[in-house]
Amino acid sequence: MRLSRKAAGIVAAAAMFTVVAPAATAVASPRSTCYGGRVCLYAGFDYNRGQIDHWRDFVKDDSNLADNNWLNWDFSNTWHSMDNETSSVRNRVGCSATLWQHPGYTGAHSTFTHNSNDGYLSNNAIGNNRTSAIDIWCR
């Protein structure tokens, strides 16, 4: 009922050639921080503290993270797909946000009220989280 890892890899590989990193802005939030008006996802636990800083922030819904790549600490594109790779989250968007297991806002989900964090989202046997979509309630 879900994309196989091989298929997911193909999707991710395709995404690598189609996704362009946004221009750096003064309000985005690498290095463990997350400023107001956004939801920040991190590839590592504890908001990437002591780890490679792969992160990305969101200001509106995204139904499929497979077509998004992580950003580096300097805002450059890592070319790594975000699908099933989120390990921690900070919600600073001003309303609740829901992380979904499957694309299209389906499957299991976790909702984070504004100003809430989770530094240790669930990980599976191979170390990847299962977040595939993000739903920001006020956008």
């Binding site: 463990s32 297991q101 499957g107």
Partner: protein, 306 residues
């Protein structure tokens, strides 16, 4: 169940103690009966009144998750700790209050756990999320803060800000519990249930039903992932609405929702039975955090703390 005055957790009950389980079972069985009677034949679309079962997809793990009311209590206590922390550092901030009713109004619950299954929502919103807009409160308090204040609030790479400190303060003293493990089990039971033979059979009936309605998809996931719909944009085409409506009707008439929910619930019950210590810790952790949060809010109300 409301939060009690002593701050203890008003946990969701499962199985539902009001006989809803029986109602759910009978309703779902009615829905599935057409498909069960003619397993090899294309299932007709289900009548729309069957959507009443939607709100009753209560799962065993739900009894351990926070309710909207509990989330509001924890959120508001967190807000007070943030205000206190910022005041100690010379800044005044006014984070917006969390409202339990507002959270409950837009909380998706399990309505999209097995894909889109709400026929009425599908008619109106297609595969898009069916939720009223939530107020955007960011601009009201944090967006215009000067940079040094933002750093105190949000923290830096070197130092945790007041938002993190408030979270730590709220968690202090609470019994350790492995919430990430519960989230993982929550996604695993869903995936495992999808492999159940009864679910696979139901998917075949769903396929047949969809085909009869002029839609050729190998799976419900393929239907929602159709590139003709853009779920990131607000526009919803008539074609999307029609397809999603047929999809949801077929999900019920094929017995897919019943089969998937049944297998999912059984797996969750097994996980709970096999891990009593973990679940006791989850319940104790939430109870302690809620007690601390409720006490904090009560003190604030009586003017004992800022």
């Amino acid at each position: 169940m409301p939060l009690r005055n002593d701050g203890s957790a008003g946990f969701r009950a499962w199985p539902p103690e009001t006989g809803r389980r029986g109602l759910l079972a009978s309703t779902l069985l009615l829905v599935a009966s057409a498909a069960a009677c003619a397993a090899d034949e294309p299932a007709p679309a289900a009548p729309d009144q069957d959507t009443s079962a939607m709100t009753q997809l209560v799962l065993p793990f739900d009894a351990y998750k926070t309710t909207p009311k509990q989330r509001a209590v924890l959120g508001n206590a967190h807000n007070h700790l943030v205000v206190q922390c910022m005041r100690e550092r010379g800044s005044t901030v006014t984070p917006p209050a969390e409202d339990a009713d507002a959270i409950a109004a837009v909380d998706p619950g399990n309505s999209r756990r097995y894909g889109v299954t709400d026929i009425e929502a599908a008619k109106q919103y297609g595969y898009h999320l069916a939720r009223p807009p939530s107020p955007d409160t960011t601009g009201a308090w944090a967006a215009k803060l000067p940079k040094p204040v933002r750093h105190r609030l949000y923290g830096t790479a070197a130092d945790r800000g007041c938002l993190d400190r408030a979270t730590q303060a709220l968690d202090k003293g609470a019994r350790k519990a492995d919430w990430p493990w519960l989230s993982l089990q929550d996604s695993l039971t869903l995936e495992q249930a999808a492999k159940d033979p009864t679910v696979k059979e139901a998917v075949r009936r769903w396929q047949s039903c969809m085909s009869q309605n002029g839609h050729s998809y190998p799976s419900p996931e393929a239907a929602i992932a159709d590139s003709r719909w853009n779920l990131d944009e607000p526009e919803i085409t008539e074609e999307e609405k029609q397809t999603a409506t047929a999809d949801t009707r077929c999900k019920w008439s094929s017995g897919l929702v019943l089969a998937w929910y049944g297998a999912d619930a059984e797996l969750q019950q097994d996980v709970i039975a096999d891990n009593p210590g973990r679940f006791a810790a989850l319940r104790a952790n939430l109870k302690q955090r809620l007690k601390r949060a409720s006490n904090l809010l009560a003190q604030h109300k009586s003017g004992e703390v800022g």
